[in-house]
Amino acid sequence: MDIMEMLKSVLELNLSGYLESIGAAPWVINLIGVLNLATACMLIVIFLIWLERKVIARMQDRIGPNRVGGKYGLLQSVADATKLLSKELITPAGVDWLPYNLAPILIVVASLLTWAVIPLAPGVIGVDLNIAVFFVLAISSISVVTFLLAGWGSNNKYALLGAFRAVAQMVSYEVPMIVALLIPILLARSMSTVDIVEAQGIPFIIVVPLSALIFFISALAETGRTPFDLLEADSEIVAGFHIEYSGMKFAMFFLAEFLGTLFMSAFFVVIYLGGYRFFGLEEAMIGDFHIGPMIGFIAFATKVFLVYFVFIWIRATLPRVRIDQLLNFNWKFLVPLSLVLLLTVAVMDKLFLADASTLTKAVVLMVTNIVVGWITIELLRWRNRDGETAVISESVDDAHGHNHDAHEAVATH
């Protein structure tokens, strides 16, 4: 047990290599890795809750928590957790105890399980599946089941209705998410997250920006964040499917939502922003010491929190959409757009760019994306201009944020 060796391996983010060299069994190494990841995920949620409240407060021109734990309210989440832990677990009469109690557990399990395939640094990943992206999608679709369990188990008609709407939203937004994710898979020729990160000499958000946008919107809806948060908003159908949960069980749903949002940020970073890549510095070495993994991890964490900040930013800025607007937007706009985009990118990639260099490919695909997006906006504008009640325009803002309802009262442009 050479302490200096162990310390060096930790800083190189290669503790498993060190443990292997001193003869630990593979299952011990895996267990330590799993415990590390799960604990880190749980602990970071404490920070995330505080971060969200502070950032939203600043955006709303107020200060946010500043009483608990010093000037910056750093222990606010600890106070929140203590409050939730100390609440009485009221179980309503007539609940089906198995779904009722299983739902919070399952939703946290599903949120944690997907972290296994996120590459945190070069060589640091839970398991390098060759179908990693598909694995993430499958586990996300399992978490949909937990909403039904919660809604049914609560023996409450309103919880059931909330659960139905939640399931409808989740299942609907999986479609554009999957189709939008197919585009980086197409470009990287692999479903493995490590391969996708390695294939991003130029980050995919620059190569296929429209796909990144569609994925981002679907991720917003999948995690139940504003503007799609009518699943759980307090003013909507009395807080949705988890109204009958109190104390720690409610905290589980809360935890799962934050974990899910962080995971979607991490997934977005891995697929579109290049994961742990940082201009090649993640391969760096100082003499014998691999400093690359640590640089990669810091770069990854920075990018994840940047994307998470965008999630919070959107929550502080946009109002909520109704359930019918939400479903209309998905089925009549996002799904056709993502399918057309997939088709276009696939055709361009195969037919015209078969042996082009990476830079040419990137530029051509980016131009293609922008052209498809521009054509979509022009089509929407053209439909509104003729004064017909286009189904999309009456409910949703187009990409520029203008609501064309006001323009319809006026005659044609």
Binding site: N130, S141, V145, V171
Partner: protein, 181 residues
């Protein structure tokens, strides 16, 4: 040794929950047991090296079909459904049929592919495979679009799914009030 214990455990749990599916009076509990059965089958696929199919099983069966079944249960509930008899009048005969079927098929299987075979290929999974199994997804994808392979069934399956999608929406639409849920 560990593999065998694990497989027996997964098989027993899956079959147990499958029995709950076919015998439970409470349909919602039966649907939940069905989800656990699907999970057990997905684990079996993983042990057989078909990881892609396991994920597809999770995505399609647990993430979609189970939810569809639960919605179907909730929409077709009657007030008295709590004390409904789960089995019809031919339950005894069908039990006999099912058991006889299983014994017959088991006999055929054990004669041709014995439980302690001398043939090494059938006694254990051929261990030559990691690269081939990893490549099986790529091979599957290429088989689906290759004219020498399964592009025609693939296209027909997509048309069939479209027909099922449109057809089921049309069949389940309420007729009198023209509203969409």
């Amino acid at each position: 040794m560990f593999e065998q214990v694990f497989f027996i455990f997964v098989a027993v749990v899956t079959l147990g929950f499958a029995l709950i599916v076919v015998t439970n009076k409470n349909l919602f509990h039966a649907a939940l047991a069905l989800m656990v059965t699907f999970l057990g089958v997905a684990i079996t696929y993983v042990t057989l090296g078909a990881g892609f199919l396991a994920m597809a099983q999770l995505l399609v069966y647990i993430g979609a079909i189970s939810i569809l079944i639960i919605f179907g249960i909730m929409m077709t509930r009657r007030m008295m459904s709590a004390d409904e008899e789960p089995f019809n009048s031919q339950a005894g005969l069908s039990l006999f049929t099912a058991v006889a079927f299983f014994l017959l098929v088991a006999y055929v299987f054990i004669t041709y592919w014995p439980t302690t075979p001398a043939d090494a290929m059938l006694a254990q999974m051929t261990p030559v495979d990691p690269a081939i199994l990893n490549n099986s997804v790529v091979a599957l994808g290429q088989a689906f679009v290759s004219p020498n392979a399964y592009v025609l069934p693939f296209e027909i399956a997509s048309v069939m799914l479209l027909a099922a999608l449109v057809g089921s929406i049309f069949i389940a639409k309420p007729r009198i009030q023209e509203d969409e849920a």
